[in-house]
C-alpha cells in the first residue's frame, strides 16, 4: 500500500527521472534480501487450522516465519539460521505509531541494554491489584531457532490502548558483516553497513474488542478503555494462494506457438526454452478477504484487499505488482535490462509471488524454470 502511494505521489517526478540513469528495480532479486515475515498464531482448539490467524491475544503464541531470497531462489531455514544469523527484537508499538516507530524512538540504545524478553507469567498476575504488568520494550526475543522463532504475547497496557508489537529482525548478508555489528548500528543510530538486513513486522494484538473485554474482566474501568464494537470480530487471518497457472509460449509475439500449460506447486521446477513467454495466473480466494471496522466518529466497515508482489531472479516481468484476487503477469525468459547474464547463472530462474492483504495477512509461493538453450 505504501509503495502504491509513493508511486502515485512520485508519478510526475519519476516520469522525469525515467530519462536519466536507472535505479535497481524492485522485482529483481540480485542479492540476498528479505521479502516478507509471516506471523502465524497458534490455532485455538476448535478453529479451522487452514485459516491461520495473524492477530494474537495476550498469552497466545505465534511463530515468526521470514522469507528470504537470493539469486538462487528462496533461502531455507537452515541457511537462514546458519548464514544470516538473525536476531529478533520485540517493541511495544503505541497506537497510531507507524511500524518501526518504536525502535526509532528507542535509539540510541546500547546493545548491552537490550534485555531478553521475559516469558509471560500469567500466574503472577493479580487483577485485583488493578495494575497491569508491563513488558520491557524493546527486548530481544530469545529462541533456539532464529529462522522460525516463537513468541508469546505478553500482557501490557499498551495493547489495551490499541497498541501492537513491533517485531524487528536484524541479520546480515552472507559474507558481509555480522549480525552483532548490524544490531549495534541499528540501535546506535549510526550509518548501517550495506550488508545489514533489517525487517520489521507488526504482530497485531487483538481483536481490540476482545482485549477490552479482557481488561474489563480484570477490573480496568471502561472509561479508560478505547471504544470498541459490541461484537467481537474474527481475528485477522492470513490469505491463501489457490492455483498457479502457467501458459508457456515460444516467444512474446502475438502468434507465438504455445509450448504447454502448467500448474506448478510451490517449489516445482519447469523446463522451458530460452525466450519463452509465460502468461501467469495466480488465484487467491476473494472469500479470504475479511471485513473489519475502521475507527473514527463511528465504526465503518471496510473490506480487505489483495496486494501481490512479484519477484524474479532472472528474466523480464511485465509488472512488479498486482491487486486483483486473480493476479496476472507475464514473464519472458530473456535477459532483462538489469540482469547480468544472458541466461540464469545456475540455469534456474525463480519466480516468487508474495500475497498480502492490507492488514497483517501474508502468504507466498514460488516455482522455478530450468532455462534451456541460449540466445545464441
Amino acid at each position: 500500500m505504501a509503495r502504491r502511494i509513493a508511486s502515485l505521489i512520485a508519478l510526475g517526478a519519476l516520469a522525469v527521472a525515467a530519462c536519466g540513469e536507472e535505479l535497481p528495480v524492485v522485482e529483481r532479486i540480485a542479492a540476498t534480501r528479505p521479502l516478507a515475515i509471516r506471523v502465524e498464531v497458534d490455532a485455538v482448539p476448535g478453529e479451522d487450522a487452514e485459516l491461520t490467524a495473524a492477530e494474537a491475544l495476550p498469552l497466545q503464541t505465534a511463530t515468526l516465519l521470514p522469507l528470504f531470497a537470493d539469486p538462487d531462489g528462496p533461502i531455507d531455514d537452515v541457511r537462514i539460521a546458519a548464514v544470516l544469523e538473525p536476531v529478533w527484537i520485540a517493541c511495544n508499538l503505541q497506537p497510531t505509531q507507524g511500524l518501526f516507530g518504536c525502535i526509532s524512538q528507542a535509539v540510541p540504545l546500547d546493545v548491552s541494554d537490550l534485555v531478553d524478553c521475559p516469558a509471560p507469567d500469567p500466574s503472577g498476575f493479580d487483577p485485583s491489584t488493578g495494575v497491569l504488568p508491563s513488558q520491557p520494550s524493546p527486548c530481544r526475543i530469545t529462541t533456539e531457532d532464529p529462522a522460525r522463532p516463537r513468541y508469546t504475547v505478553p500482557i501490557d497496557p499498551t495493547y489495551l490502548l490499541g497498541g501492537d508489537i513491533e517485531l524487528t529482525m536484524v541479520a546480515h548478508r552472507p559474507d558481509e558483516g555480522t549480525t552483532a555489528a548490524c544490531l549495534e548500528a541499528l540501535l546506535g543510530g549510526g550509518d548501517s553497513d550495506p550488508g545489514c538486513l533489517f525487517v520489521t513486522q507488526r504482530l497485531a494484538v487483538g481483536p481490540d474488542a476482545a482485549l477490552v473485554q479482557l481488561a474489563e474482566q480484570f477490573g480496568v474501568p471502561s472509561s479508560a478503555l478505547p471504544a470498541v464494537p459490541d461484537e467481537i470480530p474474527d481475528a485477522d487471518r492470513h490469505p491463501r494462494i489457490g492455483e498457479v497457472r502457467v501458459a508457456a509460449f515460444a516467444d512474446d509475439s502475438e502468434d507465438a506457438a504455445m509450448i504447454g500449460t502448467f500448474t506448478p506447486a510451490a517449489g516445482d521446477v519447469i523446463e522451458l526454452p530460452w525466450g519463452s513467454n509465460l502468461q501467469l495466473e495466480i488465484e487467491a480466494s476473494p472469500d479470504d478477504l475479511q471485513t473489519y471496522l475502521v475507527v473514527g466518529d463511528s465504526f465503518t466497515e471496510r473490506t480487505e484487499f489483495y496486494e501481490g508482489s512479484w519477484f524474479v531472479t532472472w528474466g523480464s516481468l511485465l509488472a512488479p505488482s498486482s491487486d486483483d484476487p486473480l493476479s496476472r503477469n507475464t514473464w519472458t525468459l530473456r535477459r532483462a535490462d538489469q540482469d547480468l547474464s544472458d541466461v540464469p547463472v545456475s540455469g534456474l530462474a525463480t519466480l516468487i509471488y508474495v500475497l498480502r492483504d492490507d492488514r497483517q495477512g501474508v502468504t507466498w509461493t514460488h516455482f522455478q524454470i530450468r532455462v534451456t538453450g541460449s540466445p545464441d
Binding site: T200, A224, S322, T330
Partner: protein, 908 residues
C-alpha cells in the same frame, strides 16, 4: 530645425479613489525653444535621442529638484536641464489645493540633417517629405487651438469664420484612445508629392516652408485647421511618447477634409508620472510594489505578473517552478495572499502554472516579506497584497490570448458612470495530454490537469465614493488512474485525484471626505478541496467563508494620521477525512485507518490600528497593534504590537526599521481532535528588520534589508503519550515544541522602466533554522536557501520588439540523507533510516531563461507574439533525490529541461 517637442507632464490615469484621479496636473504656461548646438552637430556622429528630465513642479509653478534621469550627451543634458528650469507652469492642484508634483519630461534631440554634398539621388521607393518643418518649437496653448508657431502667408488663423479645411482625430494605434496634446504641424507640400502616409524620409534641400500652421489635439484627440491654403499639405503629428507620423493630404477649396491618424506608442514612454499617494507613505521596511505592466513580460513567467513575484529577494526558489511562497525561510503556509482586501486560498493554478487572478486587471502588487502592517494577521512569514484595478473608461478594450497551457480573454469598458471588466481563462492540457501520453504508460487520465478562472469586476461612483463589485474564482481538477500493465480491473486503489475550487463575491466601498478615508468590504467565499490517494487517503473539505473588513483613517495634520480597522472572518466548515493517523506518515504502516466527519465554525474577529506620526520632517514612526481572537472550534487570542519607522537621512536616502510580534493559528489538522491535538496554541514570531533605500539617477534604486525573526511555539510532531482531551491515554501527535530563527540580508537593485531598459538584481543571503524540541540540535529549515541571486533584464527595442533574460543562481535545497533502510514486511516497502534532518544539500541551481516579444500594432488592434525559452542551456538542475526501492542507491531528479513556449495575444 525642430529640436524641442511639446513639454507637458500629466498624471498617469489612476483610479478615482486614488488621489491621482483628483489631481489637476500642472499646465505649461511658458515654454522654451531649444536649438541643437552647432558645435555638437558638427561632430562626426552628433548625438541624438531623448533626454529625460525628472523634476518637481512647485506650488509656485517653478520647476525644482531638476535631475537628468536618462541622458544623451553631457552638453545636451545640460541644455535640457537649463530649458526645464525656464519652464513655467500653472501649479497642480488636489481638491482645489495647490500641491507640488513630481513629473518627468522627455526632450528629443535630433541633429540637423547634413547638408547635401552632391545632388540628391531620389529613391523611387521613398515617399516625398523632408525633415521637421521649421526651427521653431511649438509653444503650448489650450488643446485644439492654434499655436503661436503659425507663420507665413496661407497659414491658419484663429478666425472662427475662416473656412474649415482640415478636421482630424489623433488616436493611439491599437487602442483607439485619443492622444490629448498631440501637436499637429501643417505646411505646404512640395509639388508632385503623392498623398498618403510618408513612410521614409528623404534628405533633400531643407527649404523654409512658405507658411506653417500648428494645432494641438484636445481631450478627444480632435484638432481643426481653418483658413489655410487649399493646397497639398504635409501634416506632421508629434506627441510625447509616441512615434512621429507624417501624411501628405490634398486640401480643396470649398470643402473640409476629415482625417484620423493613429500614433504608435514608443516602447519607452517616459510620461508615466509617479503620483505618491498617502497610502504609499505608510511603507513597510521592505514593501516592494510593482505594477503589472513593468514585469508582465518577464522571461519564465508566461506573461503572468503574479508569477514574477518569485523573482524578488526574500522568496525561496520553488522546485519545478512551483508557486510555493516560502518567504524569508518560513514555510509556504506561513504567508498570506490577499486579493482586494481579503485572503485567497491559493495564488497559482496547480501550484505554479499560472496565477488564479488575471494579472492584467491588477492595479498593484505589494510584496511585504516581513514586518507588515497591523492590517494583516494570521501569518508568520510575509504578505502579498494584490489590488484589482477598475475597468477602463476610454472605450471598450480587451484581448484574446493563448499559450501552450491555456486561452483566455478580457473585455473592459465604460458602463454608465462606472466601468466593468470581465475576464476568464481555461486550460487545455486536459485535451492535449491524453492524446500525447503513450497507451502503455499505464495512466488513464479521467480528468487531466484542468483549470479555469474567471473575474467579473464592476466599479461605480456612489455617494461621493466608489463602489466595487467583484466576483471571481478558480477551479483546478485532476484525476488519474495509474495502473500496472497487468491490472485486470482498476479500482480506487489506482487513483490519484485532487480538486481545488473557490469562488468569491466582494463588495468594496471606499470614500474620502476631507481628512477622512473609509473602507468597508464584506466578502463571501466558498472553498472546496478534495484530495485522494489510493483508497488510504481521502480528504474532502468545504468551507463557507464570510469576511468583513472595515477601516477608517483620518489625517490630523501633515504629520499625523491614524487608521483603525476591524477584520472579521467566519468559516463554516465540513471536513471528511479517511486516512491513517498522522504520526504514521514518516514511518511505516500503522495498521490503522481513521475516519472522521466534522462540521464546525472558525470565527476570527480582529481589530487593528496603526498611527503614522512624523515628529519632524525626516522621521516617520508607525506604531500599531492587532488584537485577534481565534474562536469557534479553536479558542485562542493574540495581541500583536508592531512598530515601524523611517528616517530620511538625505534627499534620496531613507533608513527604515521595524519590530513586531506576529501570531498564526496552527493548521486545522494540527488542532483536530481526531488527527491532531486540540491543545496546541498559536504559533508566534518576533520579526525585526532594518533597511535602507537609496535612489540614484537614471531611475535606479537600491534597497537593502537585514532581518532577524525569532519563531517560537511552532507546532511539531510529538510521540509523547498523554491523556487526551477525551480523558483517554493516547499520543500527543502535535505540540508547540518547535523554535527557530531566520536571519539574512536582502538586496534589490532595480532599474525602473523609464528608458528602454528595465531590470533588477535581487540577492538574498538567508539562514533559517529550527529546533523541534528543547534539547534537540538546531537544523536548517526545509526551505533554507543560503544564496538566491536573480538577474533580470528587459530591453525594449524599436519596432515593438522586446527581449528579456533572467538568470538565477540559488543554493540547493536541504535534504535528509538516508543511512539505511528497513523492510516494512507488512506492506512490502522499505522505510528509510534517516540521518540528521536536512544535513545535506542538493547541488546549486542555475538557469537562464530568455523571452522575445514582438507586437504588431494596427490601427484598431494589436497582435503580440512571444517566445519564452526556459532553461536555455538545458542545465540538469537537481530538484529531488530519488532512491532505489531499498534506498541502496539514489539519483537526483532533474528540473525541467529546456522548454520553449509560445503565446499570442490579440488586443483591441
Amino acid at each position: 530645425m525642430l529640436v524641442g517637442g511639446a513639454m507637458e507632464a500629466r498624471a498617469a490615469p489612476a483610479a478615482e479613489d486614488d488621489p491621482a484621479a483628483r489631481i489637476i496636473p500642472p499646465q505649461l504656461i511658458e515654454s522654451v525653444t531649444i536649438e541643437y548646438p552647432a558645435d555638437v552637430a558638427a561632430r562626426n556622429e552628433p548625438p541624438k535621442g531623448e533626454v529625460i528630465v525628472r523634476f518637481v513642479v512647485g506650488i509656485d509653478g517653478v520647476p525644482k529638484e531638476i535631475a537628468v534621469e536618462t541622458g544623451v550627451d553631457p552638453q545636451l543634458d545640460a541644455l535640457a536641464t537649463d530649458a526645464v528650469a525656464r519652464l513655467r507652469y500653472q501649479p497642480a492642484t488636489l481638491d482645489g489645493e495647490t500641491i507640488e508634483i513630481a513629473t518627468r519630461i522627455a526632450i528629443p534631440f535630433m541633429p540637423p540633417a547634413p547638408a547635401p554634398q552632391q545632388p540628391p539621388v531620389r529613391d523611387p521607393d521613398v515617399q516625398p517629405g523632408d525633415g521637421p518643418p521649421g526651427d521653431t518649437a511649438p509653444a503650448d496653448t489650450e488643446p485644439g487651438e492654434a499655436l503661436p508657431g503659425d507663420a507665413g502667408v496661407g497659414g491658419s488663423t484663429d478666425d472662427p469664420n475662416a473656412p474649415l479645411r482640415l478636421t482630424g482625430t489623433i488616436l493611439e494605434a491599437g487602442q483607439r484612445t485619443p492622444v490629448e496634446g498631440a501637436t499637429i504641424t501643417i505646411v505646404p507640400a512640395p509639388e508632385g508629392t503623392e498623398t498618403g502616409r510618408v513612410k521614409k524620409r528623404e534628405y533633400d534641400d531643407i527649404a523654409v516652408p512658405r507658411w506653417q500652421a500648428t494645432r494641438r489635439a484636445d481631450a478627444q484627440g480632435v484638432f481643426t485647421a481653418r483658413g489655410i491654403e487649399p493646397v497639398r499639405v504635409r501634416v506632421i503629428v508629434l506627441a510625447p511618447g509616441f512615434e512621429r507620423i507624417e501624411y501628405v493630404e490634398q486640401l480643396a477649396a470649398g470643402s473640409s477634409l476629415e482625417v484620423k491618424y493613429y500614433l504608435q506608442r514608443l516602447p519607452d514612454n517616459p510620461y508615466r508620472t509617479v503620483v505618491r499617494s498617502t497610502r504609499e507613505d505608510r511603507e513597510e521596511v521592505a514593501r516592494r510594489t510593482i505594477t503589472p505592466e513593468e514585469i508582465g513580460n518577464l522571461p519564465g513567467t508566461q506573461g503572468d505578473a503574479l508569477k514574477a513575484l518569485q523573482n524578488f529577494p526574500g522568496i525561496a526558489r520553488a522546485p519545478f517552478g512551483l508557486g510555493l511562497l516560502a518567504i524569508r525561510g518560513t514555510g509556504p503556509n506561513d504567508s498570506a495572499v490577499f486579493i482586494g482586501h481579503h485572503e485567497v486560498p491559493l495564488l497559482y493554478h496547480f501550484g505554479g502554472l499560472t496565477s488564479v487572478f488575471n494579472a492584467d486587471i491588477l492595479e498593484r502588487i505589494d510584496f511585504i516579506p516581513g514586518n507588515f502592517d497591523s492590517r494583516y494577521g494570521d501569518a508568520l512569514g510575509g504578505i502579498i497584497d494584490v489590488q484589482p484595478r477598475k475597468g477602463r473608461r476610454d472605450g471598450y478594450h480587451g484581448y484574446v490570448d493563448a499559450d501552450v497551457f491555456d486561452a483566455g480573454f478580457l473585455v473592459e469598458g465604460r458602463l454608465g458612470k462606472g466601468s466593468f471588466a470581465i475576464a476568464a481563462r481555461r486550460s487545455y492540457i486536459d485535451l492535449i495530454l491524453p492524446a500525447v501520453l503513450p497507451d502503455d504508460a499505464g495512466i488513464d487520465l479521467s480528468v487531466a490537469p484542468r483549470y479555469w478562472d474567471d473575474q467579473v469586476l464592476f466599479d461605480y461612483p456612489v455617494a461621493g465614493g466608489n463602489l466595487s463589485v467583484r466576483v471571481f474564482g478558480s477551479s483546478d481538477k485532476l484525476r488519474l488512474i495509474a495502473s500496472d500493465a497487468n491490472e485486470i480491473e482498476t479500482d480506487d486503489r489506482d487513483r490519484f485525484e485532487t480538486s481545488q475550487y473557490f469562488h468569491r463575491a466582494d463588495l468594496v466601498y471606499t470614500k474620502r471626505k476631507g481628512p477622512w478615508e473609509f473602507l468597508i468590504t464584506p466578502s463571501y467565499r466558498y472553498d472546496a478541496l478534495d484530495f485522494g490517494i489510493s483508497d488510504v487517503f481521502q480528504f474532502d473539505l468545504g468551507v463557507h467563508n464570510l469576511t468583513l473588513r472595515a477601516e477608517v483613517s483620518r489625517r490630523f495634520s501633515k504629520r499625523a494620521m491614524w487608521r483603525v480597522g476591524t477584520e472579521f472572518r467566519a468559516g463554516r466548515f465540513t471536513v471528511e477525512v479517511d486516512a491513517p493517523p498522522l504520526a504514521a506518515i514518516s514511518s511505516g504502516s500503522t495498521g490503522t485507518q481513521l475516519q472522521s466527519r466534522q462540521t464546525g465554525w472558525l470565527v476570527t474577529p480582529a481589530v487593528y490600528s496603526t498611527v503614522d506620526y512624523s515628529p519632524v520632517d525626516a522621521v516617520t514612526l508607525s506604531p500599531g497593534v492587532r488584537v485577534s481572537y481565534f474562536g469557534g472550534s479553536y479558542n485562542r487570542a493574540a495581541v500583536e504590537p508592531r512598530l515601524r519607522g523611517a528616517v530620511a537621512v538625505a534627499k534620496d536616502t531613507v533608513l527604515k526599521a521595524g519590530v513586531g510580534m506576529f501570531a498564526q493559528a496552527p493548521a486545522a489538522v494540527e488542532f483536530s481532535a481526531v488527527y491532531g491535538n486540540p491543545r496546541v496554541a498559536l504559533e508566534k514570531a518576533i520579526q525585526t528588520s532594518v533597511g535602507v533605500t537609496q535612489n540614484l539617477p537614471y531611475g535606479i534604486s537600491i534597497d537593502g534589508t537585514a532581518y532577524y525573526t525569532h519563531l517560537y511555539d511552532e507546532v511539531a510532531p510529538s510521540t509523547s503519550l498523554v491523556r487526551r482531551p477525551d480523558t483517554q491515554l493516547g499520543p500527543e501527535v502535535f505540540a508547540n515544541s518547535q523554535t527557530g530563527r531566520t536571519y539574512g540580508l536582502e538586496i534589490l537593485a532595480r532599474k525602473q522602466l523609464t528608458g528602454s531598459v528595465f531590470g533588477w538584481v535581487a540577492y538574498t543571503l538567508n539562514r533559517s533554522e529550527r529546533r523541534e524540541a528543547p534539547g534537540e540540535p538546531l537544523r536548517v529549515a526545509d526551505f533554507d536557501q543560503t544564496h538566491i541571486l536573480t538577474l533580470i533584464g528587459v530591453w525594449k527595442l524599436p519596432k515593438n520588439w522586446q527581449i528579456g533574460g533572467r538568470f538565477r543562481l540559488v543554493s540547493g535545497n536541504p535534504f535528509t540523507p538516508v543511512t539505511g533502510a528497513v523492510l516494512d514486511a507488512a506492506s512490502g516497502s522499505y522505510l528509510p533510516i534517516d540521518g540528521p534532518r536536512n544535513s545535506r544539500r542538493l547541488p546549486a541551481f542555475h538557469q537562464l531563461d530568455l523571452r522575445v516579444d514582438k507586437t504588431f500594432v494596427y490601427r484598431l488592434v494589436k497582435f503580440s507574439l512571444y517566445l519564452d525559452v526556459q532553461n536555455v542551456y538545458n542545465r540538469q538542475n537537481s530538484e529531488f533525490v530519488n532512491y532505489a526501492y531499498d534506498f541502496s542507491a539514489r539519483m537526483f531528479i532533474p528540473s525541467l529541461p529546456i522548454i520553449p513556449s509560445i503565446g499570442t495575444r490579440l488586443e483591441f
